[in-house]
């Protein structure tokens, strides 16, 4: 009995010991962590697209002179402008700048070298000189005074004393005589030159003519400029400008229809010429994508011409600038009809005509700063409609850490694309992922673009009155994710349609924006 008890006890002891040892070893050493799937969710990116930036981008693509004007109500006006054509008066009306006037007798006259149709009654000399040239073939030294009767300074008639020795084999030339500040006054475009010459006995003489009958006295004008001209300007025509305005809003090579509500063409003329000038529209047409010409007709033109405002001499408006604004819109022209064809450029040519009415009583003036400037613009208030208007953008991509992930443990990924749209535009989007050689590797959506953004609601004025949020879940297989995450470029193609399927015009405001953001869920085995 005693041996049996001990035996049972020892067996129990070892059973206890062995069981615990085995159990511990199995539990702690021969186990593995079970494969299981965990799912992680991360934000990827967000971006905030402002309508103002989008439109500025369109402008920056082409002409530097284009502007996006933010109106007080935050609406935006795209203004395409052509080069400013500027004509200075001196570019057109050059006279008496340089010249040599013979004076055969002691009293001689010479016409002012003015352009055709122009009669100068007053000319204020700003700068320049004259030189007196005398051939004294008498044996005596001759002294005297040279006078220009129509030229005076501060009321004193211009006179120049001279003493000329005998010059049988050459001529005597006076030093340059500064004429600054002198005023020429003439009622008939005629200048009268006189000289009073006396020999040593004090007897008035005339210089004898040179052999062959050439005048012994000359007056040479050098670099004469005028600060003011006054007179009669008769009929004269001259080219003002010919230019082209590119309307790049319609110059994409993509599909779609954009209708702009109430487009305008404006002309702005600033004129400081002191006589009537008429603008003659020689050419004013929009050109379509296919080269079709659409002539812009407007009731503001009479016989394709319009008179520019000008500073009136009779109203003592010398030195002033007058402005003429011309606006061609749907109320006075066929521009709305033209824009339905989405023209791509405006070509215009304008000619200037002075005193087109041939009024003989018109007294005009010019100053040395008188110019006429003409600028033409196309103003597009961003209010309209678009239907499937497409654009694209290529972006560099770098998935960074994501491109180095070990995808062998990844089971699936799902992108979540969220748009918060505060514009009246819906968008269907497709993103093509390109490799380093710009070959298409994959696309974000299988089977074509998808609407990722619904237009925000608009009120009766076509102004956005809310925000539309849309969530898009884009599952992607691991194989596709493997391809996409190594790409280096993405081509974003978007097709925009305004509210109600592009059927109603909406107004785009500078404050309109779209928030686009994306998150990622990754199911991975751990």
């Amino acid at each position: 009995m005693r041996v049996k008890t001990v035996l049972v006890f020892v067996i129990a002891f070892f059973f206890f010991f062995c069981f615990f040892s085995a159990c511990t070893r199995e539990d702690l050493e021969q186990v593995e962590i079970s494969d299981h799937t965990a799912e992680f969710a991360f934000p990827l990116f967000s971006t905030d697209l402002l309508m103002k930036d989008l439109m500025l981008n369109i402008l920056n693509d082409t002409l530097s002179g284009d502007t996006l004007y933010i109106n007080p109500d935050n609406s935006m006006t795209l203004i395409y402008t052509g080069d400013v054509a500027e004509k200075k008066a001196t570019d057109i009306f050059n006279f008496l700048e340089n010249g040599l006037v013979p004076i055969p007798d002691s009293v001689s006259t010479s016409p002012i070298q003015a352009p055709d149709g122009v009669t100068v009654t007053r000319a204020d000399i700003k700068s320049g000189t004259i030189t007196l040239i005398i051939y004294n073939n008498t044996p005596d030294t001759v002294s005297g005074i040279f006078e220009i009767t129509q030229m005076s300074a501060n009321g004193v008639i211009f006179k120049y004393p001279f003493t000329v020795p005998p010059t049988p084999s050459t001529v005597w030339i006076s030093p340059p005589i500064d004429l600054s500040g002198n005023i020429l006054l003439s009622g008939s475009n005629i200048l009268e030159f006189k000289y009073y010459a006396y020999n040593k006995e004090g007897v008035r003489i005339e210089f004898p003519s040179i052999n062959g009958g050439f005048a012994p006295v000359f007056v040479s004008f050098q670099n004469l400029t005028f600060s003011y001209l006054q007179g009669y300007w008769g009929y004269s025509s001259y080219p003002l400008t010919r230019d082209t305005i590119e309307i790049d809003l319609n110059q994409t090579n993509l599909d779609g229809n954009v209708k702009v509500k109430n487009p305008k063409v404006t002309m702005r003329i600033s004129n400081s010429w002191g006589f009537p000038t008429r603008g003659k529209i020689k050419y004013l047409s929009f050109i379509g994508k296919d080269g079709t010409e659409y002539k812009l007709n407007s009731t503001i033109f009479v016989d394709d011409a319009v008179d520019f405002a000008f500073p009136d001499f009779t109203k003592d408006e010398v030195g002033q600038t007058k402005y003429t604004y011309l606006k061609m819109d749907e109320t006075n022209s066929n521009i709305a009809e033209i824009f339905n064809a989405q023209p791509t450029r405006l070509v215009y040519e304008v000619e200037g005509i002075s005193n087109a009415n041939l009024d003989p009583n018109v007294i005009g003036f010019l100053t040395d700063s008188s110019t006429i400037k003409l600028s033409v613009g196309v103003e597009l208030l961003l209010e309209g409609s678009a239907d499937n208007f497409q654009t694209d953008q290529t972006l560099d991509l770098d998935f960074g850490t994501y491109s180095a992930l070990d995808t062998t443990e990844i089971e699936a990924v799902e992108f979540k694309l969220v748009t918060e749209n505060q514009t009246a535009i819906s968008a269907a989007v497709q993103i093509f992922f390109l490799d380093e050689n710009e070959n298409k590797v994959d696309s974000l959506f299988v089977g074509g673009p998808q609407f990722i953004m619904n237009a925000a609601p608009v009120n009766a004025q076509g102004i956005v009155s809310g925000v539309t949020r849309k969530e898009n879940f884009i599952p992607m297989t691991v194989a596709r994710f493997e391809r996409v995450r190594t790409t280096k470029k993405a081509v974003l193609q978007a097709a925009f349609t305004t509210a109600d399927g592009g059927q109603i015009p909406v107004k785009l405001l500078a404050t309109d924006q779209v928030v686009i953001k994306m998150g990622l869920k990754v199911k991975t085995r751990l």
Binding site: T5, V6, F9, V10, A12, F13, F16, F17, F19, F20, C23, T24, D27, L28, Q30, V31, E32, I33, S34, H36, A38, E39, F40, A41, F42, P43, L44, F45, S46, T47, D48, L49, L50, D53, L54, N57, Q393, T394, L395, D396, L397, D398, F399, G400, T401, Y402, K416, V418, A490, L492, Q513, K517, M518, G519, L520, K521, V522, K523, T524, L526
Partner: protein, 442 residues
Amino acid sequence: MRLSTLLLFLFLCFDLSAQQELMLQSAPELWHSNATNPAFFPQEKRLVIGLPAYALDAAHSGDLTLNDVYAKRNGIRYIDFSEAINKLDPENTVHFDQRIETVSIGLRLSKKWALQAGHANRFTGAVTYPKDLPALLWNGNAPYIGKTLNIGPKIALFNWNEWSVGAMRSFGNLTIGAKLKFLTGVSALESDENHHKAEIYTNPDIYQLTLNTDYAFNSSSIISAFDTAGYGFRVSLGSLNGKAFTANTGIAYDFGFNWQLTKRIRVSASVLDWKGKINWTENANYYKSNGTYEYEGAVFPGTDIINGGDSLDFDSKIDTLNDIFKFVKTPKEFSTSLPTRYYASFSFMLNARWTFGASFYKQSGAQTHSALGFSARWSPIKWATIAAMYSVDDRSVANIGMQFILKPGPFQLYLMSDNLANVFTPRNTPALNIRAGASLVF
């Protein structure tokens, strides 16, 4: 530390160690019972050499068991936390105490005096963690989109060496003993009671992450760095290899008495780790994460998209997640107090074979614990004893402990547990208590 390792640590740490030792307290004839009362010394023995002993007491709150974690497929045992996470309470606590006695010696100088010395390594800790933490680590954040997850655990982990010397003095039938313990801290990790908030929120919008933290902890030689790169939250650990001597030092005291009131009746009591405190100076740092961190992904300026002039570079953006917790590491010494433990026992020897007794245990400090047990010991032969104990503690009112002691010649061999069922079916229980050891007595 990988995610799975961290989860294992949370769930399985009760496989590590033990401290409540009612059964050992009821066997004063074992030399290793001296660990529960410095007045215990095997009767009529002059020289005692303590061979290695191992003790473990660990528990997880609630009903979680290892079977909830283990799965067996194709003959291979796997750990799968899916079921375990479902069984967790909103807040869960793991506590454990491990004692490894490497060597000890006792020498009875006379009938009145005896001396003792020894070394032990102890590892104690408690982790209170919210259910959200393992759920997040195991399932990822996607299942919890739109919910705020609280992931800040309260942690107290300490590993130290005890170098003890002691003496006991007998006054007739009363023996009193005292032990001075020189403590050398190996490693410590203690969260700051005032800063243990860590919340993570995944926004349903595009899964933006918001982390709201006010979390701090002291660490000595456990955490060396935080690396939150990639999708996980990786913690770099310092070496856990115990060093015998470190600059982290402290002192603790054990006191006890053993009074043989009559030939049959004995009472004893002890206070352990009294005034125990370790000053941590070696690799001691204070880590703090405080603030709200929002990760919204890359933010590309709209003009870049419109103009196409810049690259959409995700690389630099995702890297910001690496530092999302932004733990600030500040060198800072700190001190920790050992929980003070109390034992009291009573025994009545019915005859040479049967002894009945009662033992009481209480632990004070940050993690309080108490237990009361009633035992019956049977010694069918002189060199073998088997005992059973019924005990109640903070976790259960139905613990059946067992004790097996063999004393062939100068050897003392024993296995014991305060809860036998846990030992034999550890995978069905949320707690474990066991002790084993050997000694040579002469």
